[in-house]
């Protein structure tokens, strides 16, 4: 029962990632692409947590920790690049 609910949750998360990818391919301006990149990064944190549950290893959560700490620096650098002047 629990595993079936978590499989459905994983499918929804993967579908959300693919939907954000469509905006990345379509996006009219560069800011749209950066926003899709940010949304995909945050979504992949939840996917990594689900993979860690199914493999039953706590060490996999450290990867999600690294994502949460370091993913926002890239977005800040690109936004400063758009604002002219790094």
């Amino acid at each position: 029962m629990v595993e079936i609910i978590l499989y459905i949750a994983g499918g929804l998360i993967l579908l959300g990632m693919l939907t954000a990818l469509w905006r990345f391919v379509e996006g009219p301006s560069s800011a749209d692409r950066i926003m899709a990149f940010d949304a995909m990064t945050v979504t992949s944190i939840a996917l990594i947590a689900l993979i860690a549950f199914f493999n039953n290893r706590i060490i996999y959560l450290d990867v999600a920790l690294v994502y949460g700490l370091l993913s926002f620096t890239g977005v800040i650098v690109i936004a400063r690049f758009l604002e002219k002047g790094l």
Binding site: N55, N56, R57, I58, I59, Y60
Partner: protein, 123 residues
Amino acid sequence: MEYLTLQNIGLVTGFLLILIGLYGALTQKNILRIIVAFTIFDAGLNLVIVALSYIKGRVAPIIDQTTGITNLSEKFVDPVPQALVLTSIVIGVGVTGVMLTFALRMFKTRQSLDINDFKETKW
């Protein structure tokens, strides 16, 4: 159907990434796009080496409460290719930085990013 394992999917994806990166590096004219293609080539190469070391049914080579400390060589995948890939990722970033520095110097001397404008280094 029995060929559809995790290892084979990793190998096929890695080799396709290597081919796409090589094609891009050979056919693009812009210097920055050549460097982007080189980055994709690097990612595919690392993926192939990690997929070679995977064995079905075994777990990651890090000790904690769920693995115990006995018979570890029958539970873990091979850790040596993973250590090699760990070094290779860092070296790849260093090579990318050197290539970007060259691209910046070439742009400052000639005000161009096209590879056809730099003919004096050909022989």
